[in-house]
Symmetry: C2
Subunit: 272 residues, 2 copies
């Protein structure tokens, strides 16, 4: 069996043995951030975008990483070469470190792991069903490790025969726990919420497509009923059609035209 490595503070260790002391502030106090990017044919996808957000998260959480951007890129290249998992997801996590008093931020621990990942083209046609849920993620622009609510809601989501929740708060739709939300109006305008969300990298790429009329604007829960199409975007999902929200079909309940066109476009640049 091939040996897979993770990196802990610059040291390469066997992935299935990679561990941290339980005094780490992520375990004690849920304090940490991460970012996650894919590799296709051993090439990182949108690495600079992910590193931009990664260092933004680090700064917002008052963490002081002892290594710089260039050094992280070198470690990532070494990991890619060592593991040779051409199609993968690489996760970089930075925690609050080994806190002496269990509350104060210490020297951060940097944990890098790589996992095989191949994009599943089948999932597009299946689409997903969402249910709305009133919740606002704290520090939404920062990619913290806080997924407490999304994970806790899993049994509720399954009981409602849905695939995920779509958060709203103060009469504004925001995002799903791990993806951004887009709706297409009857006029063919594509709208994605701009406030109180994590700004996804796939979302950013979609916003830059010149062929489509895509704007950042408020989406109210009451607007969802009038949507012609809806979809979510994420690093692993690319674009997934939302076929139903709160039990009501969106459009004709099939992946829409514009959604399909945007999906094809994003696959062109990601799934080479």
């Amino acid at each position: 069996m091939t040996k897979i490595y993770s990196v802990i503070n610059g040291d390469f260790v066997l992935k299935n043995e990679a561990s941290v002391l339980i005094s780490d502030l992520s375990i004690q106090r849920g304090y940490g951030i991460f970012d996650y990017f894919r590799t296709v044919n051993n090439l990182p996808l949108f690495l600079e975008d992910h590193l931009d957000r990664f260092f933004y998260s680090i700064s917002e959480m008052n963490l002081e990483l002892p290594i710089n951007r260039q050094e992280i890129k070198q470690i990532i290249q070494q990991l890619i070469a060592k593991n040779n998992i051409p199609d993968s997801g690489i996760r970089m996590t930075v925690t609050g470190g080994y806190s002496e008093d269990g509350y104060s931020v210490a020297k951060p621990n940097l944990l890098i792991t790589q996992t095989a990942f191949t994009f599943n083209k089948e999932s597009f046609n299946k689409g997903i069903n969402l249910i709305t849920y009133n919740h606002q993620r704290q520090l939404s622009s920062v990619k913290t490790i806080d997924y407490l609510m999304g994970i806790r809601l899993q049994p509720f989501i399954k009981a409602q025969k849905a695939d995920d929740v779509l958060y709203y708060n103060n009469n504004e739709i925001t995002e799903c726990p791990r993806s951004n939300f887009f709706m297409v109006t009857q006029k063919g305008e594509v709208i994605t919420p701009s406030n109180n969300i994590l700004k996804g990298i796939t979302r950013k790429k979609i916003l830059n497509f010149p062929e489509f009329n895509i704007i950042e604007a408020n989406v109210k829960p009451g607007h969802l009923q009038s949507a012609k199409e809806a979809f979510i975007s994420s690093t692993t999902k690319n674009v997934l059609p939302v076929l139903e929200i709160d039990g009501r079909a969106i459009g004709n309940g099939q992946p829409g035209e514009i959604t399909t066109a945007i999906y094809k476009k994003i696959c062109e640049i990601k799934e080479k």
Copy 2:
């Protein structure tokens, strides 16, 4: 040097070597709960109350602990006997476990650690200064490991020359990140917020003191100015006078009469 042990899933391991794999859902997704109680002269304080809340938190987070209450009590007794740290704090943490997909709850990891702790009687006279901050802890009644906001605000708190934040939301005072809040009105009534808070064990003990007129009720930020006294309560702090909020003195800026009386009473039952 004496060896100090921690307990991981029932196994006693040296505290400074106690670790978990980085696939643990606390590190990946901030998913976990804990509780913390003190021992005085090797006797656990209010253990049943803490275990009640501990199992409530476990249940609320859909975690399935493979051992029961009696077994945990046995492990705690063994740890107390083995470590012999008569005055201590014992923390029981339950995480989402080693998740295969990094999102689904797995078999939980149960981590128990003991740390020397002696109550500091000096801190009462010093009191503390608070600053209000608009935030609502998610799942406030559950003792999750989520202290993201409280820890992130530390530099802000220090810059304001304060000791901690007092959260409010929707025009209601709730709590501090690690303690409950009480105010004493000019009429000598003691009021503590009842909603959207973690129900502290020391708070519960105080509410049961028959000598005082203590009620659970809404406290609006605008009420704070009229407070004659204010204090916080917690397992480690017992009762600490709040001498200033947002730069304004509470009462005469000294520990008040009722605060002092409640403090003495809680020390009688806790600091034998």
